[in-house]
């Protein structure tokens, strides 16, 4: 039996089926926390932001109508809350949020020790380069590369025209590339 699609679950949740909302939470909690984590670099903050995104979605459940992709609605909320958080943090002079907790361990893979070490090195460069990006560039590259959203979906999440997505994503990529080259990543 195939999994029910997102909007069917929303409809069931609107009709008072809490299990349907639970399925939506389980379906999206991992990518949502991952997105918030890469934006904030704090696991605790990312959990809070993802939780609040789901809570706000639940609060507005009856107003949701099939149209836009469900994921863009959810990521749109998370994106707003995350930007709020980043700006709030900056305005309070806390600087960038640093992870208070240990970074998650990389998953075991089939890579050789040499490949794994190289991958880890590139990963560290990417982490640093991502953090150096402005939030609007960081979010767009995460939505594209990590969440796999196409330009239309990204435009829905960000509330901007597709042309803006196109240009902003290109700038983000080029900035990342330049940053990595400066860090010594010639052999990407």
């Amino acid at each position: 039996m195939s999994e029910p699609d997102d909007w069917s679950l929303v409809a069931n949740a609107q009709n008072g089926d809490p299990a349907a909302f639970a399925v939506l939470v389980r379906r999206y909690q991992q990518p949502l926390v991952a997105f918030c984590y890469r934006m904030t670099r704090s696991f605790e903050d990312s959990q809070d932001l993802a939780q609040e995104s789901f809570v706000r979605l639940h609060r507005h459940l009856q107003r949701l109508e099939p149209g836009a992709r469900f994921s863009t609605v959810l990521f749109g909320i998370a994106r707003n809350l995350t930007l709020n958080h980043l700006r709030d943090t900056a305005r309070r002079g806390r600087g960038k949020t640093r992870p208070l907790d240990a970074a998650p361990e990389p998953e075991d893979g089939a890579a050789s020790p040499g490949q794994a070490a190289r991958q880890q090195e590139i990963g560290q460069w990417i982490e640093e380069a991502l953090e150096a990006l402005r939030p609007e560039h960081r979010e767009i590259i995460l939505l594209r590369e990590m969440q796999g959203l196409d330009y239309e979906a990204i435009a829905e999440v960000l509330g901007c025209p597709k042309g803006t997505v196109r240009s902003r994503l290109a700038r983000a990529r080029e900035q990342l590339r330049q940053a990595l080259l400066e860090m010594g990543g010639e052999a990407l």
Binding site: R59, I77, N80, L83, R91, I126
Partner: protein, 195 residues
């Protein structure tokens, strides 16, 4: 590379319209595409934080109202509550026939409802000053403050996170102005709707 080249390369990488603009890629283009591709792979390979059932239950409990909201309360999350409550209060004032603003005060309102939501550019102009003046003038001017804040596009967005326009407004204020503005919002709203 000229300015259009990175956009065309980036679009080509994603299979989106505009990618064909570069025609046949040069060796240099291929090199850049290769780098973009590897960057994407590296991002996808970054370690992911794991969340499990504990997180799920926490979310469901919070959504059902059986648990406190997120551990940390974000300062600006209170503002949408303030804005919404200010609007409600403004309606109450309107029904009671509150004092109308003076001509000088009215002149501060440089925007009309039709221009609300025009975007951050307008917010960096006179509108923050108008809002601050209204905030400082007190409750009698709340209906005007509510008008100012009642941008149609914000209506749905407010409870889903602070719209960028409002941050643009806050960013444009001097510290004491920002404090006055926030006091207005928080005084009439915090805790009433969302918290």
């Amino acid at each position: 590379m000229n300015d259009e080249k990175p956009e065309a390369l980036s679009s080509r990488l994603d299979g989106e319209a505009g990618g064909a603009a570069i025609g046949t890629p040069t060796p240099r283009d291929e090199e850049v595409l290769h780098d973009y591709r590897r960057i994407g792979e590296a991002i996808r390979n970054l370690p992911q934080p794991e969340v499990g059932d504990e997180f799920t239950w926490r979310v469901l409990a919070a959504a059902a109202g059986h648990a406190a909201p997120a551990r940390r309360r974000l300062r600006y999350w209170a503002l949408p509550a303030g804005l919404a409550a200010a609007l409600l209060l403004a309606l109450a004032f309107a029904f009671q026939g509150s004092e109308a603003p003076t001509g000088t005060d009215q002149a501060l309102l440089t925007t009309t409802p039709e221009t609300h939501g025009a975007g951050p550019a307008t917010l960096h102009g006179e509108r923050p000053e108008a809002a601050v003046q209204l905030a400082q003038n007190g409750p009698a001017y709340l209906d005007e403050a509510a008008d100012f804040l009642a941008a149609p596009q914000w209506d749905d967005d407010l409870s889903l996170g602070m719209p960028e326009d409002l941050f643009a407004l806050l960013d444009s204020l001097e510290p004491e102005e920002e404090a006055a503005f926030q006091n207005l919002l928080l005084e009439y709203g915090e805790g009433r709707l969302f918290l």
